[in-house]
Symmetry: C2
Subunit: 203 residues, 2 copies
């Protein structure tokens, strides 16, 4: 078994997502911390060696480097019961994971960063214009999630899967980005359901 | 074998991506066309029955509906040699597919739509402000792709895979969004390599 090193910033829910997946699988990850606010994932050394895209998380597997939080989570969960064996259910897990990176994270993630870590008075003109745009799009994504969870306890196949872990990460801290989760009671109940799974760890 | 129906708009490279995957696999897809410019994927009937997210493509598999172009492509390619058997290479395919939906498509896709189909004079204030932002971010993504392809003939494992199909879709029409592919000679050579694969079909 090769040593696994997670290159991460603890303030990132994309990194937490990987840690939560590993915790459920009982996989030990060694951690290397970077401060994205200080540009530590944009240094020439990081771009050359760890990830040309300048993002964390990156999973180091022996001498290979794997970026993208959802690709890392899939790598860790391969062959486990976090991924359904059924071909259509497996594709449905992927569907929610792509939804997460396209509709949920790009709206909730920046708003958390801008409101909690950068501060609204330090936003540039484009960020200020995007605040209402991302707020609206994030609420559309949360409403879609709430509608699905009105009829399902978990996202796929009526049982806990990697899809729940991946979508939990940003959803459970959406309040830090100014979203009111009280508007989404089915999402709130699902968050509690996910957090009460054996093996759960806090961010 | 269940009948497969692709709900699509032929102007969308996300839909072409699915058709190209199916062509390489020799899978027949029945097609239902919608015009996204006329809001045909936003009707109450579409939202209720086909996809609550109001997007195409959606693959209908019997009475199940699978959204998200990359989840559909993965569903079709499961078990084929478009997906490497090696666990790390398989994760690397996923990595490029998440990169595509996070860094490439959200920048190139809207610019193609705005410049080729909507028209620059019909953009609203936010779209006008985002033009240079998405142009810059799209060029960063293309430069990263070019750097990788300077050292590799294909994206993963030195052979043609689902990653090449998925990233080909938007990259090969980036010019319609105002991007100059002449700046990315390794990308241009790779586009030719992908287009010369047996089984290739045009958009």
């Amino acid at each position: 078994v090769e040593k696994l090193i997670l290159h991460e910033d603890p303030i990132s829910a994309n990194c937490y997502k990987v840690c939560l997946t590993a915790a459920h699988l009982g996989i030990a990850l060694e951690r290397r911390e970077y401060d994205i606010r200080k540009g530590e994932t944009r240094t020439p050394d990081f771009l050359h060696k760890i990830n040309a895209n300048g993002c964390i998380p990156v999973l180091q597997i022996g001498d290979a480097y794997l970026p993208e939080s959802n690709a890392i989570s899939l790598y860790l969960a391969t062959g486990s019961d976090l991924i359904p064996q059924d071909r259509l259910q497996c594709a449905d897990v992927m569907r929610w994971m792509f939804f997460e990176q396209y509709n949920l994270e790009p709206n909730i993630g920046p708003l958390i960063f801008w409101r909690t870590y950068l501060g609204e008075d330090r936003l540039n003109e484009i960020q200020r214009m995007l605040l209402p745009v991302k707020t609206a799009a994030g609420n559309v994504a949360l409403a879609l999630l709430d509608g699905h969870l009105a009829k399902h306890d978990f996202l796929v196949g009526n049982r806990f899967s990697l899809a729940d872990i991946v979508l939990y990460a940003y959803t459970h801290v959406a309040g830090r980005g100014g979203f009111n989760l009280g508007c989404y009671p089915n999402v709130e109940r699902w968050l509690q359901r996910v957090a009460s799974q054996p093996g759960h760890v806090e961010m």
